[in-house]
Symmetry: C2
Subunit: 214 residues, 2 copies
Amino acid sequence: MRLAELSAHSGVSTATIKYYLREGLLPPGRQLNATTAEYDEEHLRRLRLVRAMIQVGKVPVATVREVLGHVDDDSLPRAMRLGAAVWALPQVPEPDADDEFVRGARTAMEELLRTLGWSNAQAMTSTSPSFRSLVVAAAALRRLGYDWSPEMLVPYARLMRQVAELDMAFMESQVSEAEKAEVAVLGVVLVEPMLRALHRLAQEEESTRRYGFE
Amino acid sequence: MRLAELSAHSGVSTATIKYYLREGLLPPGRQLNATTAEYDEEHLRRLRLVRAMIQVGKVPVATVREVLGHVDDDSLPRAMRLGAAVWALPQVPEPDADDEFVRGARTAMEELLRTLGWSNAQAMTSTSPSFRSLVVAAAALRRLGYDWSPEMLVPYARLMRQVAELDMAFMESQVSEAEKAEVAVLGVVLVEPMLRALHRLAQEEESTRRYGFE
DNA sequence: ATGCTTGGATAGTGCCGGTATCCGAGAAGG
DNA sequence: CCTTCTCGGATACCGGCACTATCCAAGCAT
């Protein structure tokens, strides 16, 4: 497959493919001579993965590169690759540690994890990027005058735990074809937008049920 | 409160506040004379709302303007303002209707809604932006070779329905102080990042439990 | 041989959220 | 009253991001 064919098969313009090659999101093709490079099914697959992450998952290009780096890291065992890749996904800046809302939110969230008994509580509370996003969002709610306590989030967390179990079951059902962390990462990235969409639909539904037609 | 004080109270730079004023995200202050305008608590509140939507919710400025337009639309009853505002939130381009994956995903998702018995099924299936996002994400999954059927999504949808019920309960518990659609919109926008963060934490937790420490 | 295509390098584009600069009108102080 | 400082508004500009357009020399096809 040459670049133009790769483009035709994927629906991604050659210019964009070149850009991804430059950015290291796609490994270079096998160079046949100075003007021809050949790409295979693996490239096509990777290209679709990249596109899905960027377009559907809204993951920034730099983050995609980082995530793929973990996926391809042969020095890590399979389970850890997934962990490392997911770890790299969130793009939340470190919150201002002096902000009183941030401090309060962090304390409250640590308490939440303890209440839930998630092992994160000891292991990675303050380091996980996901935990950071949680703190940032929680602090924003408080700053706006919303009053909540960690206990109120417990049911949310339990439901998301159930969702995570579904995720894992889904992923495991898929691994048959290729035993790659790539598969798992994609699952994580693509399930999220679906979840968000379902959430909003559910809100529309529930709000219609409670308050009548729109 | 003058602009500089508004800035001090909110932590948003005067330049940015001016930008928001220009963009119509913030109503102009009461003009005292040619060089002084006065802002009140309502402005501060609105400013924090805007910041939260943009920074935490990652909502584009143009969308914030649209959402606030609905929130402030006095011609609509309260319940409908929320609906209209939430309706305006997603920013998903219309998918290519000729794409076979999109067509398949749309059919599957319509079936899912029928299975769930959500009233959306009749009322707004093909018009809701959330439904559109769902179709786009589902099509992307299929295009990448993930095999799923509408039934597999049913448990996800049921869990999100439960989440939506929590959302509504939370919002209703908050309406005491100000009976405004603003409150509800914020709930919707800010709960989402928290939910995503909880989801990822739950994945970390569940993946650690299944596959061992990271 | 000639014209077309190929892949690589480089520079440019459009959007978006925000920032810097300039300005004239007033407030503050002596 | 005059100077100096600050205010708010208008305008131009900036930096990051995801592409995209242009150029070029090397090869392939006829």
